[in-house]
């Protein structure tokens, strides 16, 4: 079952072709890793999928629907959620509020319901708090729930970023370098959590990551990018043994 489809994506910035002829599919409950050297087009491709860039050519299809022209917020509401490469924690908001912000279809976000503070608003908030507590406990951020997010360490911010994205209850989670700046012990637990979420909650992941070892451990499929295109695609073993990928990383001619 295909969940996400990229068809012939192309994106240029001025004279630079950042992404060209990128096509691939992500199956439901699959974990797909995206690797490639700096400038390979990973981040641009990621933003095309999340809707933060519009492609010059090509389409993005999610769950059978062409979402190429949808705004990022509409994609999130359909279950396609992204994180940010540099943790974009909301510094002037508390950790708990960062989490609660991500809950979807919150009735309290309507002005009149918020002003009346109706029982459905309070109930929803209560349920959301329970979910947020569970996630914060797992990420070891629960004791920091009343801190301003700007006071967290770099690694804690990455965790909050992940927790917030999970709070949005995605079908497909786009993770942009989730392991950067997280200590090895926690990296292990994060990888385990990602696999658990896939197994127990049928979630699907697309992970852009520089930590090749981590990617190889969790991915079912790895996409190797170079110069804006897909250079190699297959199982972790296949991509790892692809000579062209090695060349790409070492900077040789491919």
């Amino acid at each position: 079952m295909t969940l996400l489809e990229a068809n012939g994506l192309r994106k240029t910035f001025g004279g630079i072709v950042a992404v060209e002829e990128v096509s691939f599919e992500v199956d439901r409950t699959e974990i797909v890793g995206v690797i490639g050297p700096n400038g390979a087009g990973k981040s641009t491709m990621f933003k095309l999928l999340a809707g933060f860039h519009k492609p010059d050519e090509g389409t993005v299809v999610f769950d059978g629907e062409d979402i190429t022209d949808l705004a990022p917020n509409d994609r999130t509401q359909r279950g396609l959620v992204r994180t940010f490469q540099i943790a974009q924690e909301l510094t002037g908001m508390r950790v708990m509020d960062n989490m609660l912000l991500a809950s979807q279809n919150n009735p309290g976000e309507k002005v009149l319901a918020a002003a009346a503070n109706t029982s459905s608003v309070r109930d929803f908030e209560g349920t959301a708090r329970d979910r947020a507590e569970e996630l914060l406990q797992f990420l070891e951020l629960w004791d920091l729930r009343d801190e301003y997010a700007g006071n967290l360490s770099g690694g804690q911010r990455k965790l909050l970023e992940l927790g917030r994205a999970l709070m949005a209850d995605p079908d497909l989670l786009l993770l942009d370098e989730p392991m950067a700046g997280v200590n090895p012990d926690l990296t292990d637990r994060l990888l385990q959590r990602i696999m658990d979420l896939r197994d127990e909650r049928d979630m699907t992941f697309l992970v852009v990551e520089h930590d090749i070892e981590a990617i190889m451990r969790i991915s079912d499929t790895v996409i190797g990018m170079h110069d804006g295109g897909v250079l190699s695609k297959g199982t972790p073993e296949e991509v790892q043994s692809d000579e062209r990928m090695l060349e790409a990383y070492l900077g040789g001619e491919v």
Partner: protein, 313 residues
């Protein structure tokens, strides 16, 4: 004039300015929007209520052909709603603009409103003063009318304070705060940030419209020069002095500014520099603003911890 009467007048003005500051705090303190159109929303509220509650002008020199002679409560409500709609209308094309650009567009929008009022004499009496605006329950108050109006204005400040405080701490307010911090994040989390900005703009503008109506029905007569951008700047000073993001701060800041400005009006003109008092008043506001920003950058009642969060790197 006895001191109590004087303080009541100053208090009424402070109440009207507090309503303006509450609206501005939703824009800037909660949502991070640089709104410089506040004087325009204030004017829309004042003129809407005045036009709806007075009859058309009569006599050979009359320019205004429109007037409805409706009850004052209708005028106040209509002024509030219309100011909110004008706020949304101004925000529709402009609220996607970043910081300074939004400030410039909104500033010119407010001037546009003022010039419309100045020129459309058939509707507003134009450059002349729109006179004989009725006061609510004018003849029926057995005690000091200023005391009655003081209580009325501050009761409305209280209601609006509770309402805005609740909105700010609700999930709706949480999205506004997220937009203030970094509007890519709520966008990535499924919030239509554009629509939230429009709502913030409309609600804050509506409350400025209510302030305008209360002002018009207190002072009997209004004219377009009452709604210069300087009002917007004073409200900005009020929100910053009080502490952006804090509604009690907005009310305190507005009260401090009004008190500083009004109390100096009663210094006699024959003291040294007495004839330049109006300029000195503006300087006093400026000095207070600088002192607060230097010694208490978060404002009198602002949240210092929030201001510093994330700035350690």
């Amino acid at each position: 004039m006895a001191l109590v009467d004087l303080l009541l007048v100053v208090g009424i003005i402070a109440g009207v300015y507090s309503l303006l500051a509450i609206g501005m705090n939703m824009h800037w303190g909660d949502t991070g929007l640089l709104n410089f159109a506040h004087a325009g929303f204030f004017a829309v509220g004042a003129y809407t209520s005045a036009i709806l509650t007075t009859p058309p002008a009569t006599g050979s020199l009359a320019t205004r052909v429109v007037g409805f002679d409706l009850p004052i409560v209708v005028g106040l409500l209509a002024g509030t709603v219309l100011a909110g709609l004008v706020g949304v209308l101004i925000a529709l094309p402009s609220v996607r603009l970043e910081g300074d650009y939004l400030a410039i567009v909104t500033l010119s929008a407010a001037e546009l409103i003022r010039l419309l009022i100045h020129n459309e004499a058939w509707l507003t009496t134009g450059a002349q003063t729109l006179k004989n605006i009725p006061r609510p329950l004018d003849a029926t108050i057995p005690f000091s009318y200023d005391l009655f109006y003081f209580v009325l204005v501050w009761a409305l400040v209280g209601v609006c304070y509770l309402l805005f405080e609740r909105l700010s701490s609700s999930p709706f307010g949480r999205v506004l705060h997220a937009i203030r911090e970094n509007d890519d994040v709520p966008l990535a989390l499924g919030k239509n940030t554009y629509v939230f900005k429009l709502k913030s703009f409309g609600i804050g503008a509506a409350i400025a419209g209510l302030a305008g109506g209360l002002w018009a029905h207190y002072v009997y007569a209004i004219s377009s020069i009452m709604f210069l951008p300087s009002i917007t700047f004073l409200i900005w000073a009020a929100v910053i002095i009080g502490g952006a993001g804090s509604y009690t701060g907005a009310i305190l800041g507005a009260s401090v500014i009004v008190f500083l400005r009004q109390i100096t009006r009663f210094i006699p003109g024959d003291v040294p520099f007495g004839d330049q008092l109006s300029y000195i008043r503006l300087m006093v506001v400026g000095v207070v603003l600088i002192l607060v920003l230097y010694y208490r950058p978060q404002g009198l009642l602002g949240d210092a911890e929030r201001l510093q969060a994330g700035t350690s790197e």
